[in-house]
């Protein structure tokens, strides 16, 4: 009952946050000097053309009025029409979302694997030079953001030793039989492992760039909690039962050490998703972030609006999921 009330409260604050984002974006982008319509029409367009199109997109009304019209549309699932492509914003945004989701999730998986490996290796070799080296590496990985790691990876694995693709989502000449935009997922379902390999080879570099800072955070925090847990009595007791170091770390220490890391990963995952904007640009990956930058450059106001709100919605959803899974994973809360 208490959990349920906490949940309702969360939903309420989430709604406030999202409306706050909507209002801010809406007003900020409309402060832009110059008429976005005039910018996109060819030089020969008449005053009348501009006026007609301006009226069609509603830019002739006052900003609060425009906001109410927009809000009315959103309630009915209509996020407006993109100025540059003249297509519904919702369709455009949802079409690009799978690419960004696949990239973010792949980055998360890589980060968890690397971070987990670092933490376990560091715990197993605690107090040795191996651990010291891990600490130095973690410190560096944390200090430098994904954008720079992306550039470093491009140099290392795109130019110096070109083993991965550093541009695009898939080789353009390939014939894609997909019906959804979840390329990675669908290529597995269709058992097209040739395509799958091509997609992974495109995704791996941007995903790794996004993953490096997060992997370092996971590695650092998890190692810290594991080391603290390794001193506890139940771990010692397990040793007297005849279990070796690996087993003790994995079964006795890990489940108890993982909770603080999990909460942090949730928050950091939203940062990672935010990072896709520039990383997609860097790797010319056709996702939401790349589309967002194009929209900003082209002053496509309805599209910018839609993308920012979608990002904000994803962030808040991730936070909500993390809180729920935290409550579920902690046996003391589950049974308490």
């Amino acid at each position: 009952m208490q959990l349920f009330r906490a949940f309702l409260l969360r939903l309420f604050t989430t709604a406030i946050t999202l409306s706050g984002v909507a209002v801010i974006v809406f007003f900020v982008i409309r402060v832009v000097p110059g008429n976005p319509i005039a910018m996109m029409l060819p030089p020969g367009a008449t005053e009348a053309d501009v006026a007609r199109l301006t009226a069609r997109y509603g830019f002739d009304k006052s900003i609060p009025e425009q906001f109410l019209i927009w809000l009315q549309g959103v309630v009915q699932g209509d996020f407006g029409t993109s100025i540059t492509s003249n297509q519904p914003v919702l369709g455009l945004v949802l079409g690009r979302l799978p690419a960004t989701l696949e990239l973010s999730i792949m980055a998360l998986v890589i980060a968890v694997f690397i971070g987990g490996f670092i933490a376990l290796t560091g715990t197993r070799n605690r107090g040795t030079s191996v651990e010291a080296a891990i600490d130095v590496g973690n410190g560096m990985a944390l200090s430098v953001p994904d954008f720079l790691w992306g550039l470093v990876l491009i140099l290392l694995f795109g130019v110096l030793w070109p083993v991965f693709h550093i541009s695009g989502r898939v080789t353009p000449s390939l014939d894609l039989p997909f019906t959804t935009n979840f390329y990675l997922f669908e290529s597995v379902l269709r058992l097209r492992f040739d395509l799958w390999a091509d997609i992974v080879s495109h995704m791996f570099m941007p995903a790794l760039a996004l993953a490096i800072p997060l992997a370092a955070i996971i590695g650092q925090l998890l190692k810290q909690s594991l080391k603290e847990t390794m001193h506890l009595d139940y771990v010692t007791l397990a040793r007297t039962k005849g279990y070796g170091e690996n087993h003790v770390i994995l079964r006795e220490a890990l489940p108890n050490a993982i909770l603080p890391t999990l909460t942090l990963v949730g928050v950091q995952f939203t940062f990672l998703i935010g990072g896709t904007v520039i990383i997609e640009r860097l790797f010319s990956y056709e996702g939401l972030g790349n589309m967002a930058i194009d929209a900003v450059i082209n002053r496509d106001l309805p599209l910018i609006q839609g993308i920012v709100i979608l990002f904000a919605a994803i962030f808040t959803a991730v936070n909500l999921i993390v809180d729920l899974s935290y409550a579920f994973l902690n046996p003391r809360l589950r049974h308490g």
């Binding site: 009595d233 139940y234 040793r239 007297t240 039962k241 279990y243 489940p255 046996p331 003391r332 049974h335």
Partner: protein, 290 residues
């Protein structure tokens, strides 16, 4: 041939010359209950930890042998040593509140050694766990085995840890101050339970404690430690009748008697401490010269 024979065991703080254990000799016969007594810091816990292979990494063994059932544990490769300890010895830990893994159910924490190390079938191991929980007077063992530690009281948890220690029918159990962390009222019951289980299973017991009263109740023989050195090894009867070592006598005088709890106590006198310290120093000198 003693079941447990520790010979000349010395340990020190890693990378220093600070001694933790000084040339310890200790033997426990099969089925014997042996007390290890001394003030805190005397090294009594360290002996139990050394024999179970759970010394803190900051402490290293410099020489000596630990023979368990005729095999020197220190000569075995690490993996084999762990298995051997797991199969023949067990620990009853000090603090029941921290000695059970909070994220695992009780049942698997009792049966894991039987299944993973000794290769029992899961169902056999579970039946055995139920039987043991019954033996330690836990009502409704089936429900308890499905519980998480935080759902049970401290006394219950200590009973579970005792049951778990006896699960694999070890030949030797180390009880490391098993009642210190408990309420005085629960202490007596737990002590009685350990004695009861020991008698039923005929297990040798190394009872680490600072409480001579407890020793007089459960042990047959005891070793007195000071400064990581065994100053006296004797039977309980002889010890309480006439302790041979001056330090033992002083220690006894400093312990409240159950028969006369209000009698005034004498703290261990300075002269006795000085004498025993001189003895320790003399031992160190002979080690250096020899």
């Amino acid at each position: 041939m003693s079941f447990l024979a520790i010979k000349g065991l010395s340990a020190r703080l890693r990378d220093t010359s600070f001694p933790i254990l000084r040339d310890v000799f200790l033997s426990v016969e099969a089925g014997e209950v042996h007390g290890l007594v001394g003030e805190s810091g005397a090294g009594k816990s360290m002996i139990g930890k050394a024999l179970l292979g759970i010394l803190p990494t900051s402490i290293e063994i410099t020489h000596g042998t630990i023979e368990l059932d005729g095999v020197d544990l220190l000569r075995l490769p690490p993996a084999e040593r762990r298995r051997r300890i797991g199969a023949t010895a067990a620990l009853i830990p000090q603090d029941p509140l921290t000695a059970l893994n909070p994220s695992r159910r009780i049942g698997p924490q009792i049966t894991d050694r039987l299944v993973d190390i000794l290769g029992w079938a899961r169902s056999t191991a579970e039946a055995r766990a139920r039987e043991l929980l019954d033996e330690v007077h836990i009502p409704d063992p089936v429900r308890v085995m499905r519980s998480y530690p935080h759902e049970l009281s401290g006394g219950m948890r200590q009973r579970i840890l005792i049951a778990s220690a006896f699960a694999a029918e070890p030949k030797l159990i180390v009880a490391d101050e098993p009642t210190t962390a408990l309420d005085v009222t629960v202490q007596k019951q737990i002590l009685k339970l350990i004695a009861e289980m020991q008698a039923r299973h005929g297990t040798a017991l190394l009872f680490v404690t600072h409480d001579l009263g407890v020793v007089s109740k459960v042990c047959q023989s005891l070793s007195v430690l000071y400064g990581g050195m065994v100053v006296e090894r004797t039977t309980v009867r002889d010890f309480f009748r006439e302790p041979a070592h001056s330090y033992s006598r002083a220690l006894l005088a400093a312990t409240p008697k159950y028969t006369d709890p209000l009698a005034s106590l004498t703290p261990v006198p300075e002269t006795v401490i000085a004498a025993v310290q001189a003895e320790v120093a003399a031992h160190d000198r002979s080690q250096r010269n020899g």
